[in-house]
């Protein structure tokens, strides 16, 4: 089944991480809908939210490939967990004295904020899920959109500990305890 998938990942803050992740996804010929990255509460770690559209099995393949990247500490597909997913948009709309009040009304309905007013335009900030923002943009299009910037989706799973939660009593550390033998003698048949 082809649908949108939300992948969340905990990654080490090292140069090239974003490049490696994007390159692994691109190799499988997926289009990245959005990718959002930011630092988290633990030093030297970042969290990514990646939205891709694709077949379930193929996305799982990519997830496994991404999991192999050394800097990726954990990665999880939370699409089926009904996560809370939001994005933010900043929209600069043409606004004349005659249209301004209508734009303000629409902004109110969508619980957006007007953060800048100039004689002929407004900047609106709105957060919500993708559908909500798409709808709002559609409504504002008639007034004339001058500039638009969206953050891409960020998401958290609902409930208690999520797949990326770092438990305080279990600090992140290197997981492999066993190193394969090196110079084992070849057997004589």
């Amino acid at each position: 089944m082809i649908r949108k998938h939300i992948l969340i990942a905990l990654v080490q803050d090292r140069p090239g991480v974003l490049n490696r992740i994007a390159s692994t996804i691109r190799r499988r010929n997926f289009n990245i809908d959005s990718i959002a990255v930011g630092r988290i509460e633990v030093p030297h770690l970042s969290r990514m939210t990646i939205v891709v559209e694709g077949d379930d099995a193929k996305v799982e393949q990519v997830r496994k490939q991404l999991d192999k990247i050394i800097e990726v500490i954990r990665i999880s597909d939370i699409t089926n967990d009904n996560p809370v997913a939001r994005e933010m948009a900043m929209i600069k709309v043409k606004a004349s004295p005659s249209t301004r009040s209508e734009i303000i009304q629409i902004t109110d309905i969508f619980r957006g904020n007007i953060v800048d007013v100039s004689p002929d335009s407004l900047i609106i900030v709105v957060t919500g899920n993708q559908d909500k923002i798409d709808t709002m943009i559609e409504l504002l299009r008639g007034f004339g959109i001058r500039e638009l910037s969206r953050t891409g989706t960020i998401a958290l799973p609902r409930g208690g500990a999520g797949p990326l939660t770092i438990e305080e009593d279990k600090p992140l550390r290197h997981a492999v305890e066993h190193v394969p033998p090196e110079d084992e003698d070849l057997p004589n048949w």
């Binding site: 090239g16 190193v179 394969p180 057997p187």
Partner: protein, 564 residues
């Protein structure tokens, strides 16, 4: 004690047990090349092209089981490594590539011989890093080597700027690493192993497909125990050749496009495929939708991303092959499969893939068999890619692990000569035969000079058929004999050898084949034999692309009699 970056690199490599570096110097590497002579523990082998360094290090790693190290300068030196790194990536070979880089204050300015090699090699390395701070150098070396060797092995690259080589810092080699994101799973899941054991204990027509992973994990004895205890026939993959002795009564050759007909039939008719350390490559499976149509599949592999990648699997076991088999073998009961094995023997008699027909000219298959007899099978065979590679895999019988060194995944023409160098350096007491086609030989011919400079006792067989044979074969069989771009105007290979200071002979008669082989082996140092072979000989069996494994073409039945 304060050490320079170059000294830190040398000492760290020594601490990791590295003994050989295949390299080629350049401007930004000068501080390192000024330091290397002070570390005689590190043998530096000067290649003639950086691709050769990567291939030699690759073959060295396969033969020794240690990490192979290659070294190249910035810019073109680094890009010349790319083919070799990709080759190691696809064949899962632990390889450390070290590249010089322009000084840090020049990076990103398109300086002379500057190239973003870490960017270029992202898709073909497990791990790579531009070392911008000398304080990180020792730790990154430790991490890189650890990652290259652990789990599914593969190449890693460190890009070191000239000023980092020249800088100084206190050197303490770390004894621990901290890579929270590196999580290879080395032990199989017990309940999955139990499920696998149940299937093996009840299957009627089981087959083991043993891949390169058995070689990598040195799980030969475990594989043998499993096969013998439950009397399961063993088919290997192309790169798995040698992981199970081909003279063993349970050995049924190798599968795939040019694999043995009986191996392919066995898999197609089986009710249980036990896939061990292999990845269902398209050259191995044929038309994947009808691969082993009646079989349940157990897939043991260290890489979770391989599970279910090409076909659905009934029992996946992620773990190191050796560890998994050790646990699995304890749960296997003694079985007999008399009917199944006699069916396989019948197929083997019907499809004698390794017989050589009588022919007045020198057949390449005949040469390989003569090499097998002359060496009594006790040799390391190194090949490039193409027809010569396939014949070397089919007509030599491999009983020793890691005795067949070939470019499998990437299919790199030109692997053979530098590969033979790496194999000989890694196993100086073994007889090494480099089996080259006339096409692949000329791709890395300059490494003949490396052989002479290092006085390596390597036997080189060049099969001169005047064609890029495998492509010509496809043009013949699939493109209705429309040969284009495959005919070679060849040089005099013996004279080329002579020009490099290598003794050589040309053989164009059957009667001269064996004496030439004996002469080459008696000769100390490199020796080249140019075999003028039947020009339009094809590799059979052949599963045409897009066909099922059992739809293999065989040599059209000749009027002449078959002779073993």
């Amino acid at each position: 004690m304060m050490k320079t970056g170059a000294e830190i690199l040398c000492e760290s490599l020594i601490k990791e047990g590295v003994e050989v570096i295949f390299g080629f110097p350049g401007g930004v590497l000068l501080p390192l090349y000024d330091t290397l002579p002070r570390y005689p523990e590190l043998r530096h082998i000067l290649v003639r092209h950086e691709q050769g360094a990567a291939h030699a290090a690759d073959a060295y790693a396969r033969v020794t089981g240690k990490i192979g190290v290659c070294l190249a300068t910035s810019g073109p030196g680094a890009t010349n490594l790319v083919t070799g790194i990709a080759n190691a990536y696809l064949d899962c070979v632990p390889l450390l590539a070290i590249t010089g880089q322009v000084p840090t204050n020049f990076i990103g300015k398109d300086a002379f011989q500057e190239i973003d090699i870490t960017g270029i090699t992202i898709p073909i390395t497990k791990f790579n890093h531009l070392v911008t701070d000398i304080e990180d150098l020792a730790m990154l070396i430790k991490e890189a080597i650890y990652v290259a060797k652990t789990g599914k092995p593969g190449p890693v690259l460190l890009d070191i700027p000239r000023d980092v080589f020249q800088g100084k810092t206190e050197f303490v080699y770390p004894d621990k690493i901290d890579l929270p994101g590196f999580k290879p799973k080395l032990f199989g899941h017990p309940s999955q192993i139990k499920k696998a054991a149940d299937l093996i204990n009840t299957a009627e027509r089981p087959v083991i497909i043993a891949g390169h992973g058995v070689n990598i994990a040195t799980a030969y004895l475990e594989l043998k125990e499993l096969a013998e205890k439950s009397q399961v026939p063993v088919v290997t993959t192309f790169l798995g050749i040698g992981c199970f002795p081909e003279s063993h009564v349970l050995s049924y050759g190798w599968l795939g496009m040019h694999g043995m007909g009986y191996a392919n039939k066995a898999i197609h008719s089986s009710d249980l495929v036990i896939a061990i350390g292999m990845r269902f490559d398209d050259r191995a499976t044929g038309l994947v939708a009808s691969f082993a149509p009646n079989a349940q599949i157990i897939h043991i592999d260290v890489d979770p991303a391989e599970i279910g990648k090409n076909l659905p699997v009934d029992v996946p076991i992620v773990g190191d092959v050796k560890n998994v088999l050790q646990v699995l073998n304890k749960q296997i009961v003694k079985r007999e499969h008399i009917i199944w094995l006699s069916q396989l023997d019948e197929w083997r008699a019907m499809h004698p893939a390794t017989e050589i027909r009588d022919h007045e000219n020198v057949l390449p298959q005949y040469i390989i068999r003569q090499i097998h007899e002359a060496t009594r099978g006790d040799a390391i065979i190194v090949t490039g890619v193409g027809q010569a590679q396939m014949w070397a895999a089919q007509y030599f019988f491999y009983d020793k692990p890691n005795s067949f060194i070939s470019s499998g995944g990437l299919g790199t023409m030109g692997f053979e000569l530098p590969g033979a160098i790496g194999a000989k350096v890694g196993a100086p007491n073994e007889t090494v035969w480099c089996i080259a086609g006339d096409g692949g030989f000329q791709m890395t011919v300059q490494e003949l000079a490396t052989m002479v400079q290092e006085d390596l006792d390597i036997n080189i067989a060049v099969f001169n058929n005047g064609y890029l044979g495998m492509v010509r074969q496809w043009q013949e069989l699939i493109y209705n004999k429309r040969y284009f771009g495959t005919q070679l105007y060849n040089p005099d290979f013996v004279k080329i050898a002579e020009a490099y200071g290598i003794k050589g002979v040309r053989v164009s008669k059957k009667i001269d084949v064996r004496p030439a082989i004996e002469k080459s082996m008696a000769h100390k140092g490199p020796f080249l034999i140019e075999f003028v072979v039947e020009p339009e000989e094809n590799v059979y069996p052949f599963v045409p692309p897009g066909k099922m494994l059992v739809e293999f073409l065989e040599l059209p039945k000749p009027a002449t009699s078959l002779k073993k």
